[in-house]
Subunit: 318 residues, 2 copies
Amino acid sequence: MPNIKVFSGSSHPDLAQKIVDRLGIDLGKVVTKKFSNMETCVEIGESVRGEDVYIVQSGSGEINDNLMELLIMINACKIASASRVTAVIPCFPYARQDKKDKSRAPITAKLVANILSVSGADHIITMDLHASQIQGFFDIPVDNLFAEPAVLKWIKENIPDWKTSIVVSPDAGGAKRVTSIADRLNVEFALIHKERKKANEVASMVLVGDVKDRTAILVDDMADTCGTICHAAEKLIEAGAVKVYAILTHGIFSGPAISRINNACLEAVVVTNTIPQERHMQDCPKIQCIDVSMMLAEAVRRTHNGESVSYLFSNVPY
Amino acid sequence: MPNIKVFSGSSHPDLAQKIVDRLGIDLGKVVTKKFSNMETCVEIGESVRGEDVYIVQSGSGEINDNLMELLIMINACKIASASRVTAVIPCFPYARQDKKDKSRAPITAKLVANILSVSGADHIITMDLHASQIQGFFDIPVDNLFAEPAVLKWIKENIPDWKTSIVVSPDAGGAKRVTSIADRLNVEFALIHKERKKANEVASMVLVGDVKDRTAILVDDMADTCGTICHAAEKLIEAGAVKVYAILTHGIFSGPAISRINNACLEAVVVTNTIPQERHMQDCPKIQCIDVSMMLAEAVRRTHNGESVSYLFSNVPY
Ligand SMILES: Nc1ncnc2c1ncn2[C@@H]1O[C@H](COP(=O)(O)O)[C@@H](O)[C@H]1O
Ligand SMILES: Nc1ncnc2c1ncn2[C@@H]1O[C@H](COP(=O)(O)O)[C@@H](O)[C@H]1O
């Protein structure tokens, strides 16, 4: 049987290390750097012939550099005779560019799916895709893990009055995600409808549901410039909420995100480590981080052993 | 019959403008920028339905950003029903990573070929590929133009004693390129053999051929960190050459290139504008630039009209 080999791209070495620690193995040897003309250079430092290879690279930071590095690592392992190459992409890049929503808009998420496949990826492990439909952009298996079990656990352990809280979607598109969490917590839910005028800008907001005298928990898949959640928090406080938490899987925090959160009436902004959070947490004491490495590690272990991954959709492994 | 539409990526707008000026048309409307999380955003500003689209993007500067931008532009045009999309890539990115020259080395040039095809490119126009074999990495037509006719013209117009000069390859790999130029000029040629120890570093050099009392013209496909040509120039002067010119198609000039040239015994370093040269020429008075936009424009015109492109292999169009 082939061995597991886990390699880390340069986007998130800390997460890759946590994954191999949980698997009880060492990281595969690889050097990733740039030639002086800015071309990416990858040197796989150990044999992968016949092995079951996992490459951990998130769609964060310098997205295009990290994506290209991932493609080159996949290519290098594939042409070095790896038996299978799985790209572990905790935060999938370009996930929001997933439909032709304007004339002549690119569907870059589909392009990313195609270039991952053509570079030699046999399997994708990712988490909380912005739209589950992106799985259908691939002709290879995609395991889209849910952070939900870890989020539920965090809520129960960290929000004292969670039993009387209300879960709120800051966006009609997120209603399904939020109702699922509300059901599992057995609490009510509310919804904010926003009219988006331009990318990263937010216009008027309408709240549906009663948040008066309750702790509100905003839930969404990503925190990017954070205009949406900061406005939503304001709206919820105006409507009588006593406290507002925001819980989001992918903590991108680009542009004015940190200063917006610092100035917003948010108790805490809780994200996972699908993207590195050390610097964000240093810059903003309200940001807290849920470790999801055990879910990714368990998905890798189960994939390698040919066991079912669906256990992870409702359970947090140890 | 479909119209020509030429769009410019952000790597080299000046060259794209020169190409459309020579074609007597306007550049297609496109906005390329970055979202705040560093994802590339492309908005094609005019209809391309049924049209013959050319996208000009060089493999220079932020190579990965520019490559990804090119892929997204191709995808956007393709799914907006362009009848054909041609990528005009004056300097092909990752061309030096074209073989598995170490254990587990990626063949990134092949990867680039695959991702261009899968993004929807129907045709590639490029210039002086580092290895002509890269054409075979594609299953779509590739027109690999030669800068040679423009280089010959420059030599005849700018080197007074060219008839008694000697053309020198700084590298055994470039012997073929150099013998072709020597034949066309009807002059002799010489060759320097170098032992490369590490990427971008140069070890001992052996000169084959007699350069004594002659003007030597070093010819190669690219000037990157310029260690090779600066050492070669020294070697040639030591061997009795009176003057040394260096003529190279792609002027990358990364890392210590400019300071090396400033300190080297080179009369001039002549490159083409497959890569932007304004800043390089400001920083280094020895750098001169040959405009090749008319060759690219003529290749676009001929491709569009279904005429032969091979005329350009031996002639400089007006
Ligand atoms: N990286 C990005 N940052 C901000 N907006 C984006 C990004 N990528 C795509 N978009 C836009 O976000 C919208 C899709 O978001 P959604 O409606 O939440 O799926 C589209 O209008 C996209 O053009
Ligand atoms: N961008 C780059 N900068 C410097 N060296 C490179 C680059 N890309 C590839 N190489 C190396 O250049 C060598 C191939 O160059 P060549 O022998 O001239 O075809 C290989 O050893 C590559 O690893």
